[in-house]
Subunit: 206 residues, 2 copies
DNA sequence: ACCTGAACACCGTTCAAGT
DNA sequence: ACCTGAACACCGTTCAAGT
């Protein structure tokens, strides 16, 4: 006994990884900690707060990796990293979507996206549009993928023939095309440092 | 007594409109119908089936209105109509997202989007990317808006200063820019019948 | 064709009280 | 600082039985 807030968080993360969001109940977390359900409310005001903290944990590693990279490539990588982080945990996308209210990481990542777009010469407003389109694409498509995966795992649906990685790449490519088009119209010369791109430490996303 | 499947559907829709998705339980639907909860399972195999049918109802009115309109304008209108249909019911976007598995209207609308993009001269693959990007943008952003609205209604959040209509228009504009860019690259001449556009029966979305 | 009654196995949350 | 015990007000679903 005498569990810390982090113990609760880690136990919850374990249930999420092993069984998914539907099985992540306060009672179940408490049971795994050998504690009464009411004990959890000393650490978290309610389940929503736990989910938000959990979402922040899942997104903690998503951060811009290099400012030397061309702005559109940075957008591409941020989107890929975000998607990879969501896919790393069962129902990760649904969790982030549900825990969005008050989340810190979620706001930070939005900031990175906007920042990269601005470096391409986009107006604040256009940069916001880029952030919105990319965020919703990543979250929404990954929710669909993970929901399908869970249904298949439970035998509630036949394996789908959809290629979500491809759908993601195609959708993202389209949005980036729109972004580059906007960049070109602003009369700005976006930084074209793509020759710096080759080298160690620039591994792809998956 | 002696309720039809449609009675169940209408009662559920009423609860949704008045209280939102969180209050839409099988037991509550049954109570409003003056019936035991178990009675509902004669009409629907489970709650998921009810939600899917409900989602189809909400989306029933979303249909392409004119083939005479320019392809990109048709995409814009479809997206706007979809968004309007979701906004017409409390938590409509969340409902459609949750009831997606097996939904008919949802597949139909995806088809309309793809079709419009193809008429712009886009390849099957590019048209799919357009459908994906638009669908996720509309659903995701509307979920955020309606979730916020519900939290404000319950006093769980201060009124937000976000302008969701503007965020939607900006995001959509960006995606459409990408689509037009792809259309231009294909060497096809997209139909430019925009001169036919003016006239009665072409009211906007809101 | 449609519903009851009763049960099963769960939920989130509160709150006084304990150590 | 952290937890118990007990309660409140709920869930979705099944299934034999009724009319």
């Amino acid at each position: 006994m005498a569990n810390s807030r982090d113990d609760v968080l880690n136990t919850a993360l374990g249930i999420l990884r092993r069984y998914g969001l539907a099985d992540l109940s306060m009672r179940r977390v408490a049971a795994e900690l050998n504690v009464q359900p009411s004990a959890l409310y000393w650490h978290f005001a309610n389940k929503q707060a736990l989910l938000t903290a959990l979402a922040d944990t899942v997104l903690a590693g998503v951060t811009p990796r290099s400012a030397r990279t061309r702005w559109d490539r940075r957008l591409e990588r941020l989107a890929g990293d975000l998607r990879a982080a969501l896919l790393a945990v069962t129902d990760g996308a649904e969790l982030v979507s549900a825990g969005q209210a008050g989340g810190l990481s979620t706001a930070a990542i939005g900031g990175y996206l906007t920042e990269a777009a601005r470096q391409g010469g986009l107006s604040e407003r256009d940069a916001g549009a880029v952030r919105t389109a990319i965020w919703q694409l990543v979250i929404g498509l990954t929710i669909e993928q993970q929901t399908r995966a869970q249904m298949e795992r439970l035998g509630a649906a036949a394996p789908s023939d959809r290629d979500f990685d491809r759908e993601f790449a195609d959708g993202l490519g389209l949005v980036l095309d729109g972004a580059r088009h906007r960049a070109g119209q602003n009369g700005n010369t976006p930084n074209v440092e793509f020759t710096y791109l080759v080298g160690p430490g620039f591994g792809g996303v998956g």
